[in-house]
Amino acid sequence: MISATLIACSDCDLLQRLPILAPGESARCPRCGNVVASKRPDSLNRTLALTVAAAVALLVANAVPMLGLTAAGREASTTVLGGVQVMWEQGQLAVSVIMLFAAVIAPALDIAFMLTILLAVRRPPAPNWVGTLLRCCHIIRPWRMVEVMMLGILVSLIKIAELATVITGIAMWAVAALIVLLAAISSTFDPDEVWLRVRWVRNSAHHQGAQRGVES
């Protein structure tokens, strides 16, 4: 295993030696309090299991109706994609694209990339496109707004309940499950485990030395 590793805090750039962490322990930057590393027991296997479950929940959430209503003998129901489509037809192109990305594309890409990464690192060294995918996941993640969408659905339910009788769809439960699974993924996943298994972009002559200290 790696002995103490030299790292810099991503928030304040403080140079520090990372102590050896037992599974379940986290290290904080002594200067700014940022969590600089957190070691998770059996991180890659557990995350893989959770990611497979999240993929199923995501498929269900987008395939079946989210909510519906009945008013004066008429019924209407919508899926997430249906909502995006109506916004597009109403001329709110920018808004519908943002919604599509935040509610469907970002979570789908995140889960698909995570599945690929976790399967690819099972036999190290993993090719370096795995690192590229992991970078994409980091960029996508703030834009993945499943939990915001859930709250949005609840508020719109209350708003519509004044006008019509509301029916909740199965997709609501799938979204609820998806939120729990995504939260579980982010607490079990340790990206450092992936980076240790990825083949370096530049030739790996420095591999050993650099893991222990500074790449020169």
Binding site: C12, C32, A72, V148, L151, W195
Partner: protein, 213 residues
């Protein structure tokens, strides 16, 4: 301040923002690519202050029409009414659903405004070279990054209400021009959080040390 504390940049070491690998800037070359993941390396995010200011100002401009224009219009055979975000919050206020009204108020009115103020405060203090309460300012930055996405709440609400209430000719809800400005505020401030480099908060105390020694 602990004098033994040194930043990686002060020793010519680059921290990869993507994979966290430290590497030494190769002589001759200013900044390069991370040998492990191939990401571009920077001592600090390039043009961080200017870019963040530009995004914050753009978001502040969008914030005005976002609150003045209606976000949804309800059309029935007898009436037509438009609601702004604030009017939506008031409409939601009832004995049973007031907690949701509070949530929407916080997510749509308070958080965007607080984000703009917090980012401006961080930018101004960094530009003035402040060395006070660095830890708190870094925590403020992390908080802004964490809660920012919740402002998108109102856009989701509008989307679902509009999608469902299409009962011609009984009742139709149409999105208003405010929605796109509001979504703009959220997107612009989220990008601003990404372009701001919190390490700039800490750079000044090392400059101070260099001067005093």
């Amino acid at each position: 301040m602990n004098t033994a504390w040194q930043s990686a940049a002060s020793l010519g070491l680059l921290n990869c923002e993507d994979c966290g690998l430290l590497s030494r800037a190769s002589p001759g070359m200013h900044e390069g690519r991370c040998p492990r993941c191939g990401a571009k390396l920077h001592f600090r995010k390039p043009g961080s202050i200017q870019r963040t200011w530009a995004l914050v100002i753009a978001a502040a401009i969008c914030y005005i029409p976002a609150n003045l224009f209606p976000v949804m219009t309800t059309i029935t055979p007898f009436s037509k009414s438009s609601d702004t975000i604030m009017e939506g919050v008031v409409l939601l206020w009832s004995p049973s659903s007031w907690p949701l009204s509070v949530v929407v108020f916080i997510a749509s009115v308070t958080i965007p405004l607080a984000k703009l103020i917090a980012l401006s405060y961080l930018l101004i203090t960094v530009q003035r070279g402040s060395v006070k309460s660095n830890r708190e300012r870094t925590r403020l930055y992390r908080m802004v990054a964490f809660i920012g996405r919740w402002s998108m709440l109102d856009v989701f609400v509008d989307t679902f209400v509009v999608a469902l209430v299409q009962l011609q000719p009984l009742m139709v809800v149409e999105p208003g021009p405010g929605v796109v400005f509001f979504a703009g505020v959220v997107v612009l401030t989220m990008i601003a959080v990404e372009t701001f480099d919190p390490r700039l908060i800490w750079d000044q105390c090392e400059v101070g040390h260099a001067r005093s020694t």
